[in-house]
Amino acid sequence: MSTGLLLLSLCPAIAMTDTVIHSLWMSAGVILVSLLSTIARDVLDRSSASTATSPKGAVRLLRALLISSVLTAAFEAGLLAVSPTASASMGIYSPLIAVNVLVIADRQPAARSLARSASGALGRGLAVSASLLVVAIFREALGAGTITLFPAGAFRGTIIVGPLVDQPVRALGLAGGALLCLGYLAGALQAIATRRASAASEGEKPR
């Protein structure tokens, strides 16, 4: 997955990195909808290609939008049943998963088999989730001095991060903090990509 594509998929989801638990719910949505919509689109593409009536352009886009939005609605209904609090806190951002996964999928080359498409979608979902989690841990730990997870048994679901809880960097908890973290994450990814490219070109040079 390229750096640009990872950033493209992170941008609409970055608002849900104010707490770690929100980023985990968002990640679950992105992985599920991305995986299932890729499988559904791939199956339809392969079946329509064999009948020589392959849809083009706008019809294809409409079909993809319909699949991803229905799957997103199913995820929203499931989330509402499992955790109404999480559903309410995700607000307008859970429906946006529908267009987010579509934008990512459209920029990927077609895979040779259904299994490869599915594993590619799963990989993209996991990459997005890992990036969201890193940004969320950084923002919540520094911005609020806590890390919010799922409560279980005696564990109330919140880890206190030392003295930061009394003197947090509140600016990181705001919308600007999300953009700032994403900007520096993008810079780090760009630096790694540039270093890898230069190392590869050095290796190709004849001695």
């Binding site: 493209l8 886009l61 609605a73 607000g91 307008i92 459209d106 903090g177 953009l179 630096a191």
Partner: protein, 196 residues
Amino acid sequence: MSWEATLLTFALIDNVILSRLLGVDPYGMPGSLRSAAAAGGLFTILMAASAVAGSVLETQVLAPFGLEALRTPAFVLLVAAFAAALHGLAARRAPAMLEEAGVSLGRTATSTAVLGVVLIASRGGLDAGRALLAGLGAGAGFFLVTSMMTAIRLRLEVEPVPRALRGFPLQLVTAALMAYAFLAFDRGFLARFLGR
């Protein structure tokens, strides 16, 4: 809330890019100020029209018939339909503007900014008139911030900046600083500005 307050709230206080974090696109950075203005104009029209239609759909169809579960597919398809209609209209009436904007049908139909405005208007229970103002305000805010970010990026292109931050990372850091600056636009500012 008065009509001026609705417009200013959606343009400055609850800005779609800087407050809601929607519409930031690493592949969609306008190349020039003219391009940013053309794209901003198209998105403003699309946001206003979609917000009105979304509000009507919510209040006249989805809520009365208990079809709230279909809200996401309905709004996604609604935005796509309006994007297609706007592209068709612009291609016939203002092809130069469409070319200058450099936005494809796929990008407008899957815009998180437009869908976000529709969702905010419908979930906020805004009637059609308020939704129109919300859409226009959000579009104006989108237009303003995109133009400002493009102008800053064009200036920074000739400045010495760390290689790792060149391009989209610096654009995000710029947006972050603008988001902090826009915190000055709050309810207190609105009350003072409108003299209430």
